[in-house]
């Protein structure tokens, strides 16, 4: 039967022309921080056998990211898509993902990227693990399957840690963990010959007050571009003096040691 790995992925907004978020195929893409998680899952499956399911939440257009995942070799794609899910904060997102995970049982491992390229909270992975009652190890770099448990290496604050975690469990995968494979042309053809599954709120067994805007305890009140502090210093003196001053500034800024 092999290992069943679920990778939670997000379709992120790359660009907001004119400051307005309009989701089109050109302005959205699979979150780059999810790619190492997908690659890790595919490599584990290739080694141990089994299946990889990609799970995402978002409007219909988010399904394109699931097709990207299928093109890389993921076996199954599930999109949680319902108007009631719109406007979710990270907790409401985790509620929906937990319900999706419940329907995908049994599984051995749930993987997340560490963060997203468009909102960058880093909360959804850990929150979902808590919601689903799964042990979590963060910033995983190497994963070894050892029977019913995993040996996970992670790096944090300059230390390399090794964990033993019982399955089923959840991991956030560090960006450095793996370089994602390119989708082969045959893989793309196969992905688009098949279909992803789209699950509604009803299928998830949730009510509108548990998810989306209604189920979100935090609300974004407003959003404005942060002012970028830009300062231009002209260095004076001889070439040698300028070089020394530049060096000093770079060292003080922590850019070089």
């Amino acid at each position: 039967m092999g290992i069943h790995i679920i990778v939670c992925i997000k379709s992120v907004v790359l660009d907001a022309p004119g400051g307005k978020i309009v989701r089109t195929p050109d302005t959205t893409a699979l979150n780059p921080f999810d790619l190492p998680a997908l690659e890790t899952a595919l490599a584990l499956r290739d080694e141990s056998g089994g299946t990889v399911t990609a799970l995402s939440m978002g409007p219909e257009i988010s399904g394109l990211s699931l097709y990207s995942a299928l093109s890389m070799g993921v076996d199954r794609g599930v999109l949680l898509c319902d108007k009631a899910l719109a406007g979710a904060d990270t907790l409401a997102t985790s509620n929906a993902l937990c319900a999706g995970l419940k329907l995908l049982e049994p599984y051995d491992l749930v993987l997340f990227g560490t963060r997203t390229a468009d909102s960058d909270t880093g909360q959804v992975g850990p929150q979902t693990a808590v919601g689903a009652g799964l042990p979590l190890a963060a910033q995983a770099r190497e994963i070894l399957v050892k029977g019913k448990s995993l040996e996970v290496s992670a790096e944090c604050d300059g230390f390399r840690q090794r964990f033993e975690v019982d399955t089923p469990c959840a991991l956030t995968v560090a960006p450095e963990a793996a370089k994602a494979r390119n989708a082969s042309l045959g893989g793309i053809e196969e992905a688009f010959s098949g279909e992803i599954e789209v699950w509604s709120l009803e299928k998830l067994g949730l009510t509108p007050d548990q998810v989306g805007d209604a189920g979100s305890p935090t609300k974004i009140k407003d959003m404005t571009p942060a002012a970028k502090g830009k300062q231009c210093d002209f260095l004076t003196g001889s070439i040698e003096e300028q070089a020394d001053k530049l060096l000093e500034k770079l060292v003080n800024a922590g850019l070089i040691q």
Partner: protein, 381 residues
């Protein structure tokens, strides 16, 4: 917005672009300067299906449509024209004729290795005295028992220095004129098969273009493609498809030149403003963008017609003519926008300019394409 593209095609673009920017972009300049064929990239491209884009899955290909094919060629050529050339010639005029005219046994014999990129294909028609007039070839294959004895001197063979599986246009019946031309598949390693020195070319320098000579080369009779006497029909069918690939290649080079032109014109300042603020430069950018867009629509239309199994010969000829002329014009303007830097090998537009030039020459010159188009437009009169 491009009405010919589906989400699948967008995924092809995303994936091929990511691969080429990671694997080819860092070395494209060196490949050009050193005239080096990157076998290490070929191996990776093979694993990703780039050498059997339209080959059915049961023969090891990706089983994709023509629009996917042109998107892939466009994206490879956007980064490295010479590798775009390698892939398009291999797919269009080496693999495709075997799929279209070969027996099932021949397909099973040659196509899986070609589709996997383990072997590279070549199309050997041009001779020192036969180019646009393909019926003037002098290569001969004479039957000797169950073999052909082939003598041929083929020049300017794209992929020649790397090719294992070569489609050789020969006269099997020297008295029959154009109806005596056939195609025989010759394999590297056959005694008498000699790949000549690599050509020292102006552009597309990473492609191992060479001569291929066959000297009293004994080739099994079952290496004949189709039947005797249909060589020109095979060639023309291959070129109909091949034109779309070359058009896509020209398009990719033009796109790269457009992007570099835009980037540089916003960054370079003269008279206290970015040069893109000068109307003469902005007009060049407008013309480049418009021509590239028009070429793209023509190339994708030709491919879409092929996918719909509608006639596409005229449209592919128009696409090849227009895209090749566009590539030349747009790379020329990109050099002009860069001024003196554009004439230097330090900037990629110099390479694009050299690479673009040959798209007006090979797989049918612009002049031959005008003849083909005029014949189709004017009809019989």
């Amino acid at each position: 917005m491009n009405p010919f593209l589906t989400e699948k095609h967008r995924e092809v673009r995303r994936s091929v672009r990511a691969f080429c920017e990671a694997e080819l972009a860092p070395i494209a300049k060196d490949l050009d300067q050193e005239a080096r064929f990157p076998w290490e990239v070929v191996e990776k491209m093979g694993a990703l299906g780039y050498f059997g884009i339209q080959v059915p899955k049961d023969l090891g290909g990706a089983g994709m449509d023509s629009v996917s094919y042109v998107v892939a060629i466009e994206e490879i050529s956007r980064v490295c024209g010479g590798m775009g050339l390698c892939v398009t010639v291999h797919n269009s005029v080496a693999v495709h004729p075997i799929m279209a005219f070969g027996t099932r046994e021949q397909q099973e014999k040659w196509v899986p290795d070609l589709a996997a990129g383990k072997k590279i294909g070549a199309f050997c028609l041009t001779e020192p005295n036969a180019g646009s007039d393909a019926s003037g070839i002098q290569a001969v294959a004479l039957k000797d028992g169950d073999h052909y004895v082939v003598n041929a001197n083929k020049v300017f063979v794209t992929n020649g220095g790397a090719a294992d599986t070569c489609l050789i246009f020969v006269r099997t019946n020297p008295e029959a004129g154009p109806r005596g031309i056939s195609v025989i598949v010759a394999e590297r390693g056959t005694p008498g098969f000699v790949a000549g020195d690599l050509e020292d070319l102006c552009g597309m320098r990473c492609n191992p273009v060479s001569s291929i000579r066959l000297n009293d080369c004994r080739i099994p009779g079952d290496h004949l493609l189709g039947k005797e006497g249909i060589g020109l029909a095979i060639g023309l069918a291959g070129l109909d498809t091949g034109r779309i690939g070359i058009a896509a290649q020209a398009l990719g080079i033009a796109q790269a030149a457009l992007e570099e032109g835009i980037r540089y014109s916003k960054q370079r300042r003269q008279f206290k403003v970015p040069i893109a603020r000068h109307q003469s430069v902005a007009n060049m950018i407008a013309d480049m963008a418009t021509q590239v867009d028009a070429a793209r629509l023509m190339v994708y239309r030709a491919a879409a017609l092929k996918d719909l199994k509608k006639p596409f010969s005229k449209e592919s000829a128009m696409a090849k003519l227009f895209a090749a002329e566009t590539a030349s014009a747009v790379t020329d303007m990109a050099v002009q926008i860069h001024g003196g830097y554009g004439y230097s090998k330090d900037y990629p537009v110099e390479r694009y300019f050299r690479d673009a030039r040959v798209t007006r020459i090979y797989e049918g010159t612009s002049e031959v394409h005008r003849t083909v188009i005029a014949r189709s437009v004017l009809g019989k009169f």
